[in-house]
Symmetry: C2
């Protein structure tokens, strides 16, 4: 039985999938070739097959291709050039607005304006985002995640006209690649995978696990390049406490 199921489920030559995932790289430079609307729809359809919480699909995706709106979005993403250069910016949002409306029209008390629901819908948004990313890459498109979406969530909400219970979790820029960067380094598997339970790290282990990374080409270049520019602006914001917290409280959950 297993064999039949396997062949039914798995159309894909498995070796190709793992090779494909292992070779992917983030693309930050794009050609001016537009993305066909029909292709974009097929990618979005495939992305929406991702698992989600109780089949509520507690997410929404705002696809922005208009040059003017991308320009408005740019500062919210620290003016990273991908925002305006890419053919499309996709903003993936935690969204309990739609489902709450459905509930309330049926006179049910939805009750999703709480932290637990925020996390559940943020998870839904991320699953659909990553499935979109993989689908897009499989079609020869390049993508770049903008980890900045939650930093300036308030401004993004204004620009994209997101209602209450809809908050941006991440954004992806998409376009046809105009660069082929080196593969970035990763920590060895034993640094991120724990067998059965978590084994906390000794100082010695940390040094050993990070030794290779320290000398890896990507990390070395990145540190040189970014420490003095973006990262220096980025890190202090990363440590922001009150701003983001109070924002999400105001726009999603009450407590």
């Amino acid at each position: 039985m297993t064999q039949n199921l396997k062949s039914e489920i798995c159309n894909l030559k498995s070796k190709n999938m793992l090779e494909f995932l292992n070779q992917r790289r983030t693309i930050r430079k794009y050609t001016d070739k537009p993305i066909d609307a029909e292709l974009m729809n097929r990618l979005l359809e495939a992305a929406c097959r991702a698992s989600n919480t109780g089949n509520m699909q507690a997410y929404s995706i705002v696809v922005t291709t208009d040059a003017e709106i991308k320009k408005q979005l740019a500062p919210t993403h620290f003016n990273q050039p991908m925002t305006t250069q890419a053919q499309a910016v996709l903003t993936f949002c935690a969204d309990f607005n739609r489902f709450t409306k459905w509930c309330e029209q049926r006179e049910a008390d939805a009750g999703y304006d709480n932290f637990q629901s925020f996390i559940a819908s943020a998870i839904d948004a991320m699953l659909v985002a990553q499935t979109f990313a993989i689908a897009a890459e499989s079609e020869g498109l390049g993508i770049c995640y903008l980890g900045t979406a939650t930093y300036n969530a308030g401004e993004i909400i204004d620009i994209l006209q997101l209602p209450k219970l809809v908050v941006p979790i991440t954004a992806i820029t998409v376009g046809y690649p105009a660069e082929m960067p080196e593969l970035t380094d990763r920590l060895p598997l034993e640094a991120v995978v724990h067998s059965e339970v978590y084994k906390d790290f000794t100082a010695e282990n940390i040094n050993r696990l990070y030794a290779e990374k320290k000398t890896a080409n990507f990390t070395r270049i990145s540190l040189l390049k970014t420490t003095n520019r973006l990262w220096r602006r980025y890190l202090p914001m990363f440590a922001t406490r009150a701003k983001t917290m109070s924002f999400f409280r105001k726009n999603f959950w009450k407590c």
Copy 2:
């Protein structure tokens, strides 16, 4: 140039990838065939190629195969049978413990114990989780997300011995499929995708967009099956406010 890049990036026959994603289904019943350790490592390696925040890889994955530990985990996942029946339970955690240790050994003030960092590392955890899920499915394995991971995060932390700054975001059960369920329904694309900016829904639109779903086989059966059992226990917990919030505050961020 684009064509060269495309063929270099895209090993995969794109038609196959979208078909593959469109045909996936969550698998809740597994055979007793074990997962080869070498295969599991290859899946984890591929998953770790996913994008992540500033290449910090602010996540960790606890792979639990031990029957006794899976049994301990079961109540934290509302005793869903997959937890003990699956060959492995993978718990994907937001993890700033490892990177903070690395910073502190270099006498840097890490400062990741805040809400913004929590969200960034939760995003990292979800990207690696979904990439793992797709990789596993491509190898003929079946997966099921346990959306329960954040409800009983405290208990999971105790069982998996997670230190401060490591919190479970989601879990996935994995094994060889012993069922082939129907494809679940999804909302039409226009319910989840917004062009340029968000278009909020009228009552009429909500009714129209949900009309098909209401009669869809999966949703109908799910409602019949689950409303009286799991969902009834699940929903009140879903609305929990204070518990989860204070938990994450205690275990990850301070404010």
